[in-house]
């Protein structure tokens, strides 16, 4: 017994079960297959990270009331003034972020499956290098799963994670990407070598009967005692592809809108909430914001502040001002979006001029909704774009209460939640 324990501790004899290499018998595990998934993730995660950074910039977090991650420090050092053109940009980048995240889930699962024997390496630690690398792998795997899970839960409105989604997904993303970059740095030569070791074209022509294990590799991914193949490598790649395709096909419609929305059978925004001019997607209803009554109160006035002056305008007075019409989509951080809707209202830059601030640095927008994102700031470039409106009507009809009656902000290329509804006060900052 004592001898057995000593043997285990020194690594001469691994404990039974998954710690012994012979436990893992899939004939498909090997550096080539792992590297194919690794390459797909390398490209995919890079795009996810880039679109994630863009989304953070799109929120203009340096402006008052916008930042849910005020401790961002160096992570905000790349920020730039988010443009208003092209008006569909955020719709595309954020739709891509969410859709690509979903499509990569089967790839991530396959990649993790392909390297699972390494989790049970025996002895657990041989060198300092291996110890620190294993710690970093906890950040990598924990970080990856954490990011995918928080994202998935957020787009399905199941807020069970411990804290604000923005905080968790943002800082979690940075933890993950650091471990990811280190992993890529260390493994890139291995990946390149492994990808060159076999021809993709040949693999795609090899059926199950002719599927042989890869030759033994220094990382011990290849089983020492492989079972007979029940599926080819082509089959595994096809299976992962089928999973990704199914997720894509059942989700993409919520970002395309129109006819395609109906095809997104499982996506959170697969149906239209109604018909008619106001029948398009609602980010957050008046009921859930608790503004159903206050939004329909006749005493509603828009307060306009700027410089030293201040005034208040009724809805009729706003309607009497010169109106402008613009076709703009609503695009949400959750990945769904609408086709462009036709908005009519008073240009924000006209309101800025009325308030006595012809070229504002920003405007602070306050809403009857006092929840998260009830009050937000828009930057000067957003105020001055001619299509940025305090909208009063949409698609030829008055705004519905759910779409922001009596008045709402709509700005080209603005994240949906910053197109503030039920606006009560605009404060233009010089």
């Amino acid at each position: 017994m004592v001898t057995r324990l000593r043997e285990m501790a020194t690594g001469e004899q691994a404990p039974p079960g998954p710690f012994r290499r012979g436990f893992w018998r899939s004939p498909l595990r090997g550096p080539w297959l792992t590297s194919v998934f690794g390459l797909l993730l390398l490209v995919g995660v890079t795009i996810l990270f880039a679109t994630g950074l863009l989304s953070y910039a799109a929120y203009n977090p340096e402006l008052a009331g916008n930042d849910l991650t005020p401790g961002h420090g160096l992570f905000g050092s790349y920020l730039f003034d988010w443009p208003t053109r092209p008006s569909w940009l955020y719709r595309v980048t954020q739709g891509t972020h969410v859709l690509l995240g979903l499509v990569l889930i089967p790839v991530l699962l396959a990649k993790l499956w392909s390297v699972i024997p390494k989790l049970f390496d025996w002895p657990p630690v041989r060198t300092p290098a291996q110890a620190i690398e294993r710690a970093s792998l906890l950040l990598l795997v924990g970080g990856a799963v954490f990011e995918f899970v928080t994202g998935l839960l957020n787009i399905q409105y199941w807020y069970v994670f411990p804290g604000s989604f923005y905080t968790l997904h943002f800082y979690g993303g940075w933890v993950f990407i650091g471990a990811f970059a280190a992993h890529v740095t260390i493994k890139l030569p291995t990946m390149t070598r492994a990808l060159r070791s076999r021809s993709l074209r040949v693999e795609l022509r090899t059926d199950t009967a002719h599927t042989q294990p890869e030759p033994p590799d220094p990382d011990d991914l290849v089983s020492p005692d492989p079972a007979q193949a029940t599926v080819s490598r082509r089959g595994v790649l096809g299976l992962v592809g089928a999973g990704s395709l199914a997720l894509f096909a059942l989700t993409v419609g919520q970002s395309l809108g129109g006819f395609w929305r109906g095809t997104a059978l499982l996506a959170p925004r697969a149906q239209d909430p109604g018909t008619g001019p106001n029948g398009f997607q609602i980010n957050k209803t008046a009921l859930s914001a608790g503004v159903t009554d206050s939004a329909q109160d006749d005493r509603w006035r828009l307060e306009l502040l700027g410089g030293d002056s201040g005034m208040s305008l009724s809805r009729d007075e706003l309607l009497a001002l010169p109106q402008h019409t613009a076709d703009l989509p609503i695009a949400c951080v959750e990945g769904w979006s609408t086709e462009p809707q036709t908005w009519t209202g008073v240009p924000l830059r006209d309101l800025a001029a009325t308030a006595g601030v012809s070229s504002p640095q920003s405007v602070f927008v306050e809403s009857l909704d006092d929840g998260t994102f009830g009050s937000t700031s828009l930057r000067g470039n957003q105020v001055l774009d001619g299509d940025s409106l305090l909208a009063l009507q949409v698609n030829g009809a008055d705004l519905s209460v759910d779409h922001g009656f009596p008045a709402r902000v709509i700005v080209p290329n603005n994240p949906g939640v910053h197109n503030t509804k039920w606006v009560t006060r605009l404060t233009f900052e010089v």
Binding site: G172, V175, L266
Partner: protein, 154 residues
């Protein structure tokens, strides 16, 4: 250089990459853990454990059972050997399972705020998932029938 590699177990670049990654993670973690440190840690480590020690063993066991039963059954030695059925169950099972894994909060109606927030009904998702799963299984069965027919003697 040799000395370093012998002591450390890898090249200096390895150590550099590791230290940079840990430093970045530490910097981000200061903020990540600022409000609910214990719960966030549970979620972060739980994410890795949940995948590696729960989800993966679970689906591997199901797959193992499937492969074993496909080897045991000898309904028709000739056809069974010519056209193994195991992948015609595996593929639809995995696709259906994947859709459940990704969309279970919608399918099981776990969000209490979905309907009031969006003004959309949460009802259709369970039925739609069953429908998609059904279609995938039927398509796989049809593909198997076709294969059997093609490989039938004569």
């Amino acid at each position: 250089m040799r000395r370093f590699a012998d002591l450390y177990g890898a090249s200096p670049l390895h150590l550099l990459a590791m230290l940079a990654s840990v430093a970045l993670a530490g910097y981000a973690a200061l903020e990540l853990f600022s409000s609910e440190p214990i719960l966030v840690l549970v979620w972060f480590v739980g994410a890795a454990i949940g995948h590696d020690l729960v989800l993966l063993p679970l689906y591997a066991l199901v797959d193992m059972a499937l492969v074993r039963s496909s080897r045991r059954r000898r309904v028709d030695e000739v056809t069974a050997r010519a056209v193994p059925w195991v992948n015609y169950v595996r593929v639809p099972l995995l696709v259906s399972g994947l859709l459940l894994l990704v969309y279970f909060p919608s399918i099981l109606r776990l969000s209490s705020g979905y309907e009031t927030t969006t003004n959309l009904s949460a009802d259709p998702y369970l039925g739609r998932w069953l429908l998609v799963s059904g279609v995938v299984f039927v398509a796989s069965a049809a593909a198997y029938a076709l294969r059997l027919r093609r490989s039938a003697p004569g």
